[in-house]
């Protein structure tokens, strides 16, 4: 099977869906032929599908999200891109008040087959406005589905599922995984929402995490294995719907849980997951749930500061060692 980068796998998924269904189109800032997207995910698509279906927009985030919504409820399947996840703040009304609520407020009269792609995460010294991880905000908004692929294989399968989903899907990527390679089939496949991927199986402790932290957790698990600690690593792949079953079953097996994401700690998705596990598997826990997150600060610029901000393999290992 050929190895592909996360970036190319995503593009392949987008391309396959655009070939399959002419209602699918892409819109966003600098996604067209001049630039191909800030992270080059859409490079080449304008040349293949034309400037109508791969549509550069003005710097108008609220209008990008709102126009995608208007197109979605009238027969198109838009994939809108917000260049950086931090900039979704400019489109919060359209995302959280409109797209998320339209179907409910209107009593099911319409569905909203909209995909909104954006990118989270630090590690590139882009400072406070281009590095945040804000997925918890959207998890707190009923009506949105949330995909959080960490690997190339998942990126392709999930973007295709997102495009075929009748509901608004927030499709979040991570800056530092675009170049990571994995085996990705050339042929079509879909990955269902709400189905976690277990990267390592283990008996002593469960690590649940998202985005780059899944990669860090796997590195940690491999090192812990050498120290005789058997670690299970779970990547939820979608936050809404959430695969609780895989997580709860794992906790029932290992009795110990470490949650790791790049979000600032207070109100992070890790807090929600910890709450779910204590509600549903309290009696199986042999130790307190540990959370590894960023501190409650804006994302700093200077390399040593940013390094101190973003959780790493060593912090994950320390958290595991505290409870095993």
């Amino acid at each position: 099977m050929p190895e592909k980068t996360y970036r190319d796998a995503l593009k392949e998924g987008l391309r396959e869906e655009m070939l399959r269904d002419e209602r699918v189109f892409i819109m966003g800032e600098d996604i067209g032929r001049n630039w191909g997207g800030a992270f080059k995910v859409t490079k080449g698509l304008a040349e293949e599908f034309g400037d109508d279906r791969v549509r550069d927009t003005p710097i108008s985030e609220n209008a990008i999200a709102g126009a995608a919504l208007g197109a979605a409820i009238t027969g198109m399947i838009p994939v809108a891109e917000i260049m950086f996840g931090d900039l979704i703040t400019l489109a919060m009304d359209q995302v959280c008040n409109q797209a998320a609520k339209l179907r409910y407020m209107f009593g099911g009269q319409t569905s909203v087959p909209l995909v909104l792609r954006s990118v989270f995460g630090g590690g590139k010294n882009l400072a406070s406005h281009h590095s945040q991880s804000l997925e918890a905000w959207f998890m707190h908004t009923p009506g949105l589905k949330i995909a959080v692929p960490s690997f190339a294989y998942d990126a392709k399968g999930l973007i295709k599922t997102a495009i075929r989903d009748p509901d608004p899907v927030m499709f979040f990527e991570h800056k530092l995984v675009y170049d990571r390679k994995e085996e990705v089939p050339d042929e079509e496949y879909l990955i269902p929402f709400g189905k976690a991927r277990v990267h390592r199986e283990g008996d002593d402790v469960t690590i649940w995490g998202t985005f780059l932290m899944v990669h860090k957790a796997i590195e940690a698990a491999d090192e812990l294995a050498k120290q005789g600690i058997s670690t299970e690593v779970i990547d939820p792949r979608t936050l809404v719907p959430l695969d609780k079953r895989t997580l709860i079953d794992s906790v029932k097996k290992t009795g110990r849980l470490v949650l790791v994401t790049e979000e600032t700690k207070t109100g992070a998705t890790t807090a929600e997951i910890a709450a779910i596990v204590q509600e549903e598997a309290f009696d199986w826990l042999d130790a307190p749930i540990k959370r590894v997150n960023a501190p409650d600060t804006p994302v700093p610029f200077s390399p040593p500061l940013e390094q101190a901000f973003i959780p790493d393999k060593d912090r994950i290992i320390s958290a595991v060692r505290e409870i095993v």
């Binding site: 189109f25 108008s60 209008a63 126009a67 198109m76 359209q94 008040n97 409910y104 009506g143």
Partner: protein
């Protein structure tokens, strides 16, 4: 070039001074049949809103209300220029848009009462009153949030080559929001088939427009986006209709967006408990003397499109429809508590 020295206000605008940026071409070449249509739509919205006011008085309408009373000619004039397959985007003051576009009045009234037979199954109420199959994209509780959605619907019409158009209603207050600029710009660069309908009633809640808008009209803001615009008397359904027809024609043949500023006035306050004491008496009196129903009725009678008896017959028929709708709404059941969980997602979650 329009002078920007004198700010807008409800009093000066209603007077002899008629502000315009390329004034509507008021030719009165409207057929008798269309005059009857305009009269019927205007009156239907009026009677609907009067019924809502009555039901509210009986304490049957939960929450708040933004009545359309006074502005009926705008919804009537715009929707009379549209096809059934065309779309409208509504606002928080949306009852009139929905009824004029042809929504089922039973379901509309039931929605306002929070009943499960409502068009939104009781999930939306006054601020989200919507009937998708009648071509209403939605009513919204966030001022100015409808503009990007309308632009997107128009983009969809353009990309699917349906020849449908979108009329987007919003108020003078919304034109101070960022979405106004973002959406007008989008519509202009992509030549979208959308008609921007400003319902300028001179007050954003209680704040008079003179405090929030430096120019003499909202319409002149369209110039910055190279969008043709005009100012019309929003209490005259014929003027609104004629301006809209021209804009619809432009949109259907790929000529892009237009903006029509309809100057009008609320007969009541902003919302259910607002007595609107901040409005000068002479201004209120002026606008009440330009009543939308009387205006279109007088034109229709004068043009012999209607006799007085026919006008009365139409009123009687509409009143009966509205009364029946109220009966239906009052007798309908409330939703069951477990329905709170329904319709969050269309697919499995």
């Amino acid at each position: 070039m329009v002078s920007t020295s004198k700010p807008l206000s409800g009093v000066t605008l209603g007077g002899a001074q008629k502000l315009s940026v390329g004034q509507a071409n008021y030719i009165m070449a409207v057929t008798k049949k269309k005059l009857v249509d305009l009269y019927t739509r205007t009156l239907k919205v009026r009677l609907f809103e009067e019924k809502v006011w009555d039901l509210f008085g009986e304490n049957l309408v939960p929450g708040t209300l933004h009545l359309y009373l006074g502005q009926e000619a705008v919804a009537a004039g715009v929707t009379a220029a549209l096809k059934k397959s065309d779309w409208v985007q509504s606002t928080h003051r949306g009852h009139g848009h929905v009824v004029a576009k042809g929504a089922d009045m039973n379901a509309a009234l039931a929605e306002l009462l929070g009943k499960r037979t409502g068009s939104c199954k009781g999930k939306g109420g006054s601020m989200h009153i919507t009937e998708f199959k009648a071509g209403v994209l939605g009513a919204t509780g966030v001022v100015a949030s409808g503009l990007p959605i309308a632009a997107g619907a128009a983009l969809s019409c353009q990309m699917r080559a349906t020849k449908e158009v979108v009329a987007c209603f919003f108020g003078d207050g919304a034109s101070n929001n960022g979405t106004f600029g973002e959406s007008l710009n989008l519509s202009a660069i992509w030549k979208l088939p959308v008609i921007w309908i400003v319902e300028n009633n001179f007050y954003a809640m209680g704040t008079p427009i003179a405090l929030t808008c430096p120019s003499q009209s909202i319409a002149q803001r369209a110039e910055a986006y190279c969008i043709p615009s005009c100012v019309v008397d929003g209490n005259n359904a014929v003027e609104v209709y004629e301006a809209t027809i021209e804009a619809v024609k432009r949109a259907r043949k790929g000529g892009g967006p237009s903006l029509i500023e309809c100057q009008t006035y609320r007969m009541r306050g902003h919302s259910r408990f607002d007595p609107a004491k901040y409005r000068p008496k002479e201004e209120v009196d002026f606008w009440l003397s330009k009543d939308a129903v009387e205006t279109i009725q007088n034109i229709a009678l004068e043009k012999k499109a209607l006799t007085k008896k026919e006008a009365k017959d139409i009123r009687r028929k509409l009143q009966k429809e509205v009364d029946n709708a109220a009966d239906f709404a009052v007798k309908s059941e409330y939703p069951e508590p477990q329905e709170v969980l329904d319709d969050v997602f269309a697919g499995v979650a």
